[in-house]
Amino acid sequence: MYGYVVPLKAELKVREYEHYKAAYCGLCHTLGRKYGVVARFLVNYDFTLLSIVLDGMSGEPCKYEKKRCIASPHKRKCICSKSRSQEFTAAATVILAYWKIKDNIEDNSFFKGLPYRFLKLLNTRAYKKAKGDLEWFDKAVNESISKLHAIEEKRKQGIDAAADTFAELMASISGYFEDDVKRRISREVFYHVGRVIYILDAFYDVEEDEKNQNYNPIVLTGLSDEEITTTINCSLNAAINAWSLIDENPLTDLVLNVLTLGIPSVVKEKEKKNERSV
């Protein structure tokens, strides 16, 4: 259970909160059904939102069912049933996780990388299956990672260029839609949310990367907390502008909550932590 793209629960409507939980459980179940028990541990908040955005944009209402699971063996929980968006999201989760593990192995020394090697071994089968299901996304991830490596090696200045690689990768998810207008709108939403995720990830890793002398664009450019917040807000506002263009549906406000309140509170949390440590 991790991720930066989370709603601010206190401001959600009850039905939205229930849907969010159902989407999270649905993703976990889909991962288990399609890619095995190990893959279920890959479930995260970022991709839960992805499935919600996909559902919201495609206009197909989500169906619910009640199911038991390991985490809740007694009480049956309400989950989103099998759907195209859930399966797509599950495949994307597995693929991205596998590449991330691989990336970690390359970043670390042999011994430090051992746990990642183990993880990779565990996920190889799931990855192969997911790759078969979503070939183009696997290609997009591969390309964006090699682009990112080039930037890392050159130690090129500028957070925008580095964030652009991950943002473009997220933007490629817009290929999910066949409709041209939906594709354009979702491209904008995903690009900017991807940019936010990348920058937030770097923001949260500043101390660790500084210690281990790993690549971190924020460390390299020496941006202040305020500058980071501003640039994240710009992207959030751009994503909100794009999201406003889709037709009103039961999920619009849930996504708006994440963009206007959820993510800003994650940013704020880190800012406060930094202030305390100064």
């Binding site: 957070i159 708006l256 206007t260």
Partner: protein, 188 residues
């Protein structure tokens, strides 16, 4: 055309004031200022047109014709330098690669060059770079209204999106509701 009332998200029995405020809220949401240098500007413009037409139709229907809307329109700026004009056109036409190539070839980096660089990066979503170029443009030519408004626009984008949260019940509404309910209790 769609039902003008559903376009504005109001019922047919809504009062003129309700319609006006619904129209204003939507116009604010899709205002061209929110989509400056945005690849989705055309879609926003369409939405804007739709709500303007809907509002027009309703006011005309209700007033028996002759009403005019407070429709918004875009102002466009022009450049005296032909290369800059070409770059502006390229950015407006979403041909960012060409715009960047032309900009990189420019020998002198004056205020307008910085402004155009900024616009290019805004459109791309590279806000950190955009911020640098826009502020340079403004400090080089502080009197220029176009640069200043673009910079302000960008600064506004950098504000916390908190105020744009979904419209629901504000704490104030909640209190008013409770107070009204309280009054009613007294009646009964």
């Amino acid at each position: 055309m769609n039902d003008p009332y559903s376009v504005l998200g109001v019922s047919q029995s809504a009062s003129d004031d309700e319609i006006k405020s619904a129209y204003r809220a939507l116009a604010k949401k899709y205002h061209p200022d929110n989509y400056v240098n945005n690849p989705l500007a055309d879609l926003a413009q369409e939405k804007m047109k739709e709500i303007n037409e809907a509002y027009d139709t309703i006011t005309k229907m209700r007033a028996g014709g002759g009403a005019n809307s407070g429709g918004y329109y875009n102002t466009s700026h022009n450049s005296s330098n032909p290369t800059y004009q070409q770059i502006r056109n390229a950015i407006a036409g979403n041909n960012l690669a060409l715009a960047e190539q032309l900009l990189r070839q420019c020998p002198n980096h004056d205020a307008e060059w910085n402004f155009l660089m900024g616009s290019l990066f805004v459109r791309r979503g590279w806000f950190n770079e955009a911020m640098k170029y826009m502020s340079t443009a403004c400090s080089m030519d502080p009197a220029n209204a176009e640069y200043r408004s673009a910079y302000q626009q960008l600064m506004q984008m950098g504000q916390n999106p908190y105020q744009r949260q979904p419209a629901g019940m504000s704490p104030c509404d909640c209190c008013t509701m409770l107070m009204c309910a309280d009054c009613l209790c007294d009646c009964i």
